[in-house]
Symmetry: C2
Subunit: 421 residues, 2 copies
């Protein structure tokens, strides 16, 4: 790229507690390399911002605002769920992208997202070959699902894992104190439609100092009601209570989501969603135990207040490394987190070709799930623990976290045509 080429940065898919830390890494590193790279334009609402020529000029944001992104959850520039089709299927989209990139002298494309987004990033990275527009596209990994391949972990996951582990431990202490006359079962529903990484974090609530009974339901393990109820009974018999961490994506042996197990409202409308009430009700019917259930939903992925320090550092690092790779002339790669082989956890960033990453999901390996299918192994614990390591509290004022909001100054449009997304 020319030294004055600008960069496009966009957030894609479900946001996380630390995706803005990656934005911070990208922008601060670009600013530190002013002679080599132009301005960073952020897509308003992700790739849609590029298609609509709605570009936020990050150079208008103060040093303090950009630094504040490091402790601000959500996608400060807006995200979207929008997957580019293939060049054959929707050439107009690519032509529009190139129009916008050309108009604003954009030569670097930093895409901050998960698996679907990696596919989009791959397609953009091929534009120089496919349509002759010179651009370098680097994928900045992000997903609470932790299901990107070739990276030891995914920024966003460590913090949601920490939130789930901390919350489930706290709730377990609660149930333990109530179980003599009241609640004996607490069911916590967590994210993870396909992969059970987040549910696995529930396994961290028990350790040498905390003999807490927990049953985990993974999407990777076909749900067997009888075995599950027996396991619940066994734990309640022994401990007086049990905590159940259930992934939203748990399915029965026919592959049907448990959450779709046929609840309807009085008018016969389809179920309202939520696997936690389904599981809780199942337990009530089979055992009569008093239960409570919670659904962590967006709280889990937005909980910057209890983010993992490791996760924040890694999220920043993948943003920083992406810019460095771009300046080294790299294209069509995803930044990875590589775990060093050592007794004490340490990591570094690396790279993998995007062609290998796109549209692949990394499930929990069998060796991470205990034999009975309801817990995690020592190996899994050793993998997970460093990822939730360290606290990184945001600043508070008057009892509330002070999160950063961007001014969001848009650069003037240069194209006469608009584009409908």
């Amino acid at each position: 790229m020319s030294k004055s080429s600008n960069a496009f940065y966009a957030q894609s898919g479900g946001v996380t507690a630390v995706i803005n830390a990656s934005a911070c890494g990208v922008i601060e590193t670009a600013r530190a390399n002013k002679g080599k790279i132009g301005k960073v334009y952020a897509g308003k609402n992700g790739i849609i911002g590029a298609l609509r020529e709605e570009l936020i000029d990050t150079s208008k944001e103060s040093v303090k605002t950009i630094a504040g992104l490091k402790y601000t959850p959500s996608g400060a520039f807006g995200s979207c769920r929008y997957k580019l089709k293939s060049l054959q299927e929707n050439r107009a989209e690519y032509e529009r992208l190139i129009q916008v990139f050309k108009a604003h002298n954009i030569g670097y494309f930093f895409y901050n997202g998960g698996g679907d987004s990696a596919d989009t990033c791959l397609k953009v990275s091929q534009l120089s070959k496919t349509v002759g527009y010179p651009i370098q596209a680097i994928h900045v990994p992000k997903t609470v699902d932790n299901d990107l391949p070739y990276t030891d972990c995914c920024p966003g996951f460590g913090s949601v894992a920490k939130y789930i582990a901390v919350s489930a431990r706290e709730a377990s202490y609660d149930v333990a104190s109530m179980c003599e006359t009241s609640t004996k079962v607490f069911v916590l529903e967590v994210m993870g439609r396909h992969a059970g990484w987040i549910a696995a974090a529930g396994g961290l609530i028990a350790d040498a100092a905390n003999d807490i009974p927990v049953v985990i339901l993974f999407p990777e393990v076909a749900f067997k009601k009888k075995e599950f109820i027996n396991e619940v009974k066994r734990k309640v018999k022994r401990y007086g209570y049990v905590t159940i961490v259930v992934s939203e994506g748990v399915r029965d042996y026919r592959g049907r989501f448990l959450a779709d197990a046929g609840t309807t409202d009085a008018f016969g409308h389809a179920q309202l969603g939520g696997v936690a009430p389904v599981v809780a009700n199942m337990i009530r019917e089979a055992t009569g135990y008093k239960y409570h259930w919670g659904v962590a939903d967006y709280m889990q992925r937005a909980a910057r207040h209890i983010a993992s320090k490791t996760d924040v550092d890694q999220a920043y690092a993948v943003g920083k490394t992406a810019v460095e790779y771009a300046l080294q002339g790299k294209n069509s790669v995803m930044v990875t987190i590589n775990r060093k082989a050592a007794s004490k956890y340490s990591w570094t960033t690396g790279e993998i070709a995007l062609s290998k990453v796109a549209n692949k999901e990394k499930m929990m390996p069998k060796s991470f799930i205990s034999k009975n299918g309801f817990g995690i192994t020592k190996k899994c614990r050793e993998y997970l623990l460093p990822l939730i390591g360290g606290e990184d509290y945001p600043p508070f004022k008057d009892g509330m976290p002070v999160y950063t909001r961007i001014k969001g100054v848009m650069i003037p449009k240069k194209l006469s045509e608009s584009f409908r997304v």
Copy 2:
């Protein structure tokens, strides 16, 4: 009481993030007054522990363990949902209590609970009059519901309010970044069967620096579907998204819980509980907006990791004051938190006769709810903000909070008969 009289302490009803801080206040203050008061025996699982003669000898716990209670959520000694009947209805229970108190030289009764428990404490405080057993009973207030009268606030509430305010703000940031192409409505269900104090905390997510659209559904305000849907539409039109904080206790104009609005499973079984999915579904049907919903359940009241410093301090203070009152010869009172009239928030502990407290609930005053019924007033904000003030993080190790567990050494039983609860 005689100088060597022992004290009985019990936790009652739903536990909180800071009830153990009250236990800490009671035990540390008793220890500091060794010449004036004997040992503190804690009821295992609350008052049931007294009836069963299952008394935990807190003198066997180390200074460090007792200090650790200050940052440990849940009821370390176990709690229970058990309300003593009147003396007329169940004389056997009172006779048993007196037997146990006599056997263990118990002259002080510290009961740590909410409204129902205040009634039990009142009955115990009258034992000297009613049956001639000399005992001083002091109520140590605790309830996340914040519905005890005559106290400015209730220990436990400030922390749950902080949790809800922080979590709902974080989730709002999340929705704001997704709303262009995805989720436009986030519904968060919070506790509060009768009083809307916890829901009101949702109003704190918006402030001068955070123009966040929020709609609150209070149990004090009869639910009107049309007005609600219109308010949701208005907010989404203006902001692109909306956060809804709904109290579990919201009812329609006929007094029927919204959560009971007729959901059944495929087998026609009664609904699974949860007002959040009911509200979310209602919005979907009326507007088609994409939604997410979360249920904070036990997480909200157990979330010691994001406890309010003010709340922790007050929880400790009511425990401390209870012992001081006992040593001053007081009986049949509840410790209160009194807000001083001043521009800067400050408070002190005080007392109120238990006869005035028992079985009364303090609802949100009308002046705290905005005219349209969907928000809080400035007055309410001024009331709430100091209660969530300050952070008081627990210690962490390897990414997880280190909470204290008691040894729980029981004192040998002296009575030959057992008692069935």
